[in-house]
C-alpha cells in the first residue's frame, strides 16, 4: 500500500465520519416500505392499498405530539369514512410511558409502537413529531416536520382533500 493511497483512505475516513450519522430521510416521492418488516407492536393493517395514510411519529415526552392528538382525532372522524388511515407510531423506549400518555390523550386512530425504533430510523425523522402523508399507491406525497396547531391541521385537510380528488 503506498502513501498516497493511505492519505486518500485517511481523508475518506474523516469525511465518512462526518456524514455517517446523517441518515437519509424519507422524502416526497419515496415509497412506503412494507410495515410488517419493522416488528411494530399493535394492529398493523394488512393492506393499505388505495388508502390515504398519515404515518405519524410521536413520543410521550414531546409537547407538540400532545397537541397533535386532538387534530388527528378530528381528521379521523372527518375523513376516516373516505379512506383515511392514521397510523401513529410511538417511539417511547418504555411502554408504560406510551400507555400513560394514551390514558390522558385518547386516540380514535391506530396507535402502533416502534419499540426497537426501526421504522423511525429507516424514515430518518429529523424532528418530533413528524408525519408522512401517503397516497393510495404507497407513495409519500407530503412530509410534515413538527406540529404547529391549526396551521398544520389546515395543511393536513388541504392535502387529504387534494388526494381524495384523484
Amino acid at each position: 500500500m503506498n502513501t498516497s493511497l493511505l492519505k486518500k483512505l485517511l481523508m475518506a475516513t474523516l469525511i465518512a465520519g462526518t456524514y455517517v450519522t446523517a441518515l437519509a430521510a424519507m422524502k416526497v416521492g419515496d415509497s412506503l416500505p412494507d410495515l410488517t418488516g419493522f416488528k411494530l407492536e399493535g394492529n398493523v393493517p394488512d393492506s393499505l392499498k388505495g388508502k390515504i395514510v398519515i404515518l405519524d411519529f410521536w413520543a410521550s415526552w414531546c409537547g407538540p405530539c400532545r397537541e397533535s392528538f386532538p387534530a388527528m382525532n378530528d381528521l379521523q372522524k372527518k375523513y376516516g369514512g373516505q379512506g383515511l388511515v392514521i397510523l401513529a407510531v410511538n417511539e417511547d423506549e418504555v411502554a408504560s410511558d406510551m400507555q400513560d400518555f394514551l390514558k390522558e390523550n385518547k386516540a380514535t386512530f391506530t396507535v402502533l409502537r416502534d419499540a426497537k425504533q426501526n421504522l423511525v430510523g429507516a424514515a430518518g425523522i429529523q424532528t418530533m413529531p413528524s408525519s408522512l402523508v401517503i397516497d393510495g399507491t404507497g407513495t409519500v406525497r407530503f412530509v410534515h416536520a413538527g406540529f404547529y396547531g391549526d396551521k398544520t391541521r389546515k395543511e393536513y385537510e388541504t392535502q387529504i382533500e387534494s388526494l381524495l380528488k384523484k
Binding site: K7, T13, C62, I125, T127, P129
Partner: protein, 76 residues
C-alpha cells in the same frame, strides 16, 4: 522522513481515527426523552433567570450568550 516511517504514521492515524469514530454518535430526535425533561432545562426558573440577567446586564453591560446547542426536546 523515511518513507516507511511516513507510511507507519499514516496507517496509525487511520487506525486511530477509525477507532475514535465508533465513539461518535448524535442523540437521535426520537431518543431525547431525558433531554426533554424540564429539569434538564438551563432555564428551570424563568423569573430567577430574568433577575440574574438584569443584574448581569447592569454590571457587565452585556447580556445573553448563555445558550447551549443540542439540548431540550428538539420538538418542532
Amino acid at each position: 522522513m523515511p518513507h516507511r516511517l511516513k507510511k507507519f504514521i499514516l496507517l496509525a492515524g487511520l487506525v486511530v481515527i477509525a477507532g475514535m469514530q465508533t465513539g461518535c454518535d448524535t442523540v437521535k430526535p426520537w431518543q431525547r426523552k431525558t433531554l426533554a425533561d424540564p429539569t434538564m432545562s438551563g432555564d428551570l426558573i424563568p423569573l430567577q433567570s430574568a433577575f440574574n440577567d438584569h443584574i448581569y446586564f447592569s454590571r457587565e453591560m452585556a447580556s445573553g450568550g448563555k445558550g447551549v446547542g443540542g439540548g431540550g426536546c428538539g420538538c418542532n
